[in-house]
């Protein structure tokens, strides 16, 4: 599969691997989303960051990338870093050791402190492909983004299921959200129509063991 002319691999862990650059891309980690709710009095389990980082560590083992790019909204809110438990902080450092790491800023985390390790950027170029948090509108010759948390509702012979997915065409790809507590937006929502003006896009739905291209006819709205 190609985006903007470069070869990419969509992975059922929700990550994207760019073999030519030995780069792994993940979007919307939303670390410390659980504790952000707890601050407001909704006591969600305090294990989401741990779970998200465990998943990430597992993908890193499989691909051994030289560079990891987090596509924005890595932290759920501006004070998330201050709530990050020590164990998770050191888990992050372990993962960063020996490889380049780039935090791309997002609307949830417009600023990322140096204390988190890695570099910070608003966007990044891999060849002629731009990596940014929020997809641009209009034509592009190569863009990889997150932000929208695409999910697909697949309806087959009466049984429906809802799964995160990649959505894109030859020039643009939107990644599913990686975080443990992230919900999704249906790919048939207006927000995606604006990105694929001709209404043509491919949807790759995540299963347990593989990523499956699903035809438009089998997609249902919410």
């Amino acid at each position: 599969m190609q985006v903007g002319g470069i070869e990419v691999v969509v992975d059922c862990s929700r990550a994207l691997y760019v073999p030519g650059e030995r780069t792994l891309v993940v979007a919307d980690l939303h670390l410390e989303k659980g504790s952000a709710f707890a601050v407001r009095g909704i006591m969600l389990p305090p294990y989401d960051t741990r779970e998200t980082l465990h998943r990430l560590a597992a993908v890193l083992v499989r691909y051994g990338p030289h560079h990891v790019v987090a596509l924005g909204d890595s932290l759920h809110d501006r004070s998330a870093e201050s709530r990050l438990p020590a164990a998770e902080r050191s888990e992050l450092s372990r993962m960063q050791a020996g490889r380049a790491w780039t935090w791309i800023t997002g609307n949830h985390d417009p600023e990322i402190s140096a204390g988190l390790g890695g570099g910070v950027a608003q966007s990044l170029n891999l060849g002629k492909v731009v990596l940014r948090h929020e997809p641009s509108t209009g034509e592009t010759s190569g863009e990889i983004a997150g932000h929208l948390h695409p999910t697909a509702r697949v309806v087959l012979s009466g049984a429906g299921m809802r799964r995160p997915c990649f959505i894109g065409n030859a020039n643009r790809l939107v990644l599913p959200a990686f975080g443990a507590f992230t919900g999704g937006l249906n790919v048939l929502d207006q927000a995606f129509a604006a990105l694929f003006a001709d209404g043509r896009f491919d949807v790759h739905v995540l299963g347990q063991n593989g990523v499956y291209p699903v035809a438009r006819a089998n997609l249902a709205p919410e």
């Binding site: 939303h30 294990y47 919900g183 593989g210 499956y212 699903v214 035809a215």
Partner: protein
Amino acid sequence: MATRPLRPSSGARRRDVARSQSSRPLPTALPSPIANWFAAKGWTPRPHQLALLSQARARRSTLLIAPTGAGKTLAGFLPSLVAATEPQRGEGKGAGLKTLYISPLKALAVDVARNLTGPIAEMELGLKVETRTGDTPQSRRTRQRTRPPEILLTTPEQVALLISGEDAAYLFADLETVILDELHALVPSKRGDLLALGLARLRALAPGLVLTGLSATVARPTELRAWLEPQTTAELSIRLADVIALSGGAKPDVTILETEAPLPWASHTARYAVPDVLAAIARHRLAIVFVNTRLQAELMFHELWKANEATLPIALHHGSLDVAQRRKVEAAMAAGKLRAVVATSTLDLGIDWGDVDLVIHIGAPKGASRLIQRIGRANHRLDEPSKALLVPANRFEVLECRAALEAAEAGAQDAVINRRGGLDVLAQHILGVACAGPFDTGTLHTEVATALPYADLTRTDFDRVVDLAATGGYALRAYDRFARLKPTDDGRLRIAHPRVAQQYRLNVGTIVESPMVKVRLVGRRGASGRPGPKPLVGGRLVGEIDEGFAGELKPGDAFVLGGETLRLEGFRDNEIFVSRATAKDPIVPSYPGGRFPLSTHLAKRVREMLAEPTRWQSLPTPVAEWLRLQEQHSALPGPNEVLIETFFHGGQHHMVAYPFEGRLAHQTLGMLLTRRLERAGAKPLGFLANDYAMAIWGLGDLSAMIAEGALDLGRLLDEDMLGDDLDAWLAETSLMRRTFRHCAMIAGLIERRHPGKEKNGRQLTVSASLVYDVLRRHDPGHVLLEAAYTDAATGLLDIARLGEFLRRIKGRVRHIALQRASPLAVPILLELGREIVGGDARESALREAAEEMLRAAGLADGAPQP
């Protein structure tokens, strides 16, 4: 709406009042305003009404058990009316609220209020009666907290809200009596748990409070009596409220439909009986046609009208219909404008809707008590028999109807399971108590344990639930600084922020409806006009359907709602837009909820009937023939054994078991057995469960495997299947997720979705399913997982019943290898909707979707990417 008249009941002749516990003499006279009122009406107070009065004078809580039409409601209120005529015992300490009436239905509370106002005015008692429900205007609800009426009629949820107010102590200080209507319906549920906790609180706020429970006849009145009385853990015995039990009026006149039409093998629609049902309607004034599910209601309504040549006015009433539409049907019923109403359990409780003289029950009633209560809807006069016609939808249901009829004749009821209170409900209550003011944990634990469902709650478990309410109760102490409950200087707990009280009020109650989607007809502008894509414009509201079902529909699909066949046009926000379909045979919806499994009691009766050929004479000839054939070709299971047949049929090997333990327990059994058979190498492909049997089919030759000893049925059906196999299945089943979601919402761990707030929830909410996954992995001992497991065991998965079954049949498995399907197996083999086996089902469905697309694109190989 018709009335539940406050009358001592009209025309009853024989009234036996059986009393126990209390031997006090009846009071000789009523105070004159009330005695005069009775005299003016030409009525005399009935013994049980006077008995309740003397109970109230003795300040004793009482359970009144009486059939419909016995004047229960007046009996309940009479002590409050009498008290109003007596001189006040000094100035009240509180707001002046004396009597609280609690009903499971707000419509019932409103109905009773209406019927109470008239007599109170005629007696010139000067008592104020008001209702308080979710529909009461905010201004009145606010006023009711400081200046309440003497008599307030409300629902359990409103009681919880009132208790959580800072002014609760003042509001309830003068409270003397609580009347609990339809108690039998409230107690065995989480609503009952919440109410029990609320009553424990009320007893603390108003010492000496007297509770009066009004109930239909139940199998074990002891449980209700204990529920009404405060329990003390210091005593070994259970404390019981007194009981006044009225024996029922005339025996109901119940018959099973006899028809010339051939009896279906496996249908649930009873379509075959439509001409007979119409004829029965035509012979009566007003019939209620009860069905078990909304889907059946839709279908029966549709079928009746298709055949309704005489155009008898027949209406439809179920929970998915718009409220306004339901009210219209109720009014028409009361006004005598209808001849029949097709209804689900929405018409089950309490309210009189009119002069119903026949109850038709479509399908088997699933429980003896439910049948008796539904029959009670016909005819509210004690001395005339209620008339009912049972219409079995298939052959097994004939057996079940026969069993239910015999149970009704014997006056036998289903036992209510003695339940242990939900820990999620307790978490909600603790938060509510904290909203009212600081509390001491030790004192609250003692108070909570006076409620029967929590009588054996240990201090350790109580503290875990306090922690759940305060910080989420996680092993990882990450949220102590965000705790919702904080200690005061004197060591009590208080809410940390006023916001906690606001959140509590939005989440109060235990009814977690599965989210519903509004169904709207496409408006005129949307339906006509230019060709090409049209903007959808909303028109008339037709009703609501389950969100899960809506999710399975695609534009162009047809389904039935409100008796109309509708075509899905599109979705907008939280509504779906439809047009009227023209297709003759609609694709019908499958509502997942609303089906009760066959009760344990009826199941036992059915098994006994099967084992006793002399009793088959009472069955219709085709059914008796069917059983005789089964006896010849295979065998009939004895009352305490389980029959398992294996045979080859339709290209696959089958195993059919006949446990008669209800659909839910069979589903769980099917899930677990297929896992075990897979491990044994029997290559199962799928299974199907109904209320009577469970069938598994696959590629392995089960008969041969059993004969060769490769498969041991005793081992296969060992209780240990409820161990690891169950645990592995629980990790993935959506039933467990749904149960957890309910618990998490009740406990306030995740927020409820409120109407109008569903939009744009992508980053604002976290789905219960994600919470469940994370908790299972990182905090498997969490108190809410425990609560959800307990619920699933008695609820959707019916593990408790499956466990009892496995114990019962240990060493009593009767296997018969057959050449072909047995007569008893025919119904289940004919049923549709087979479930795909295994956790890989979804994965293979995805693969299928991918392959489908690749084929369409002319690509040969459908291998997915890594």
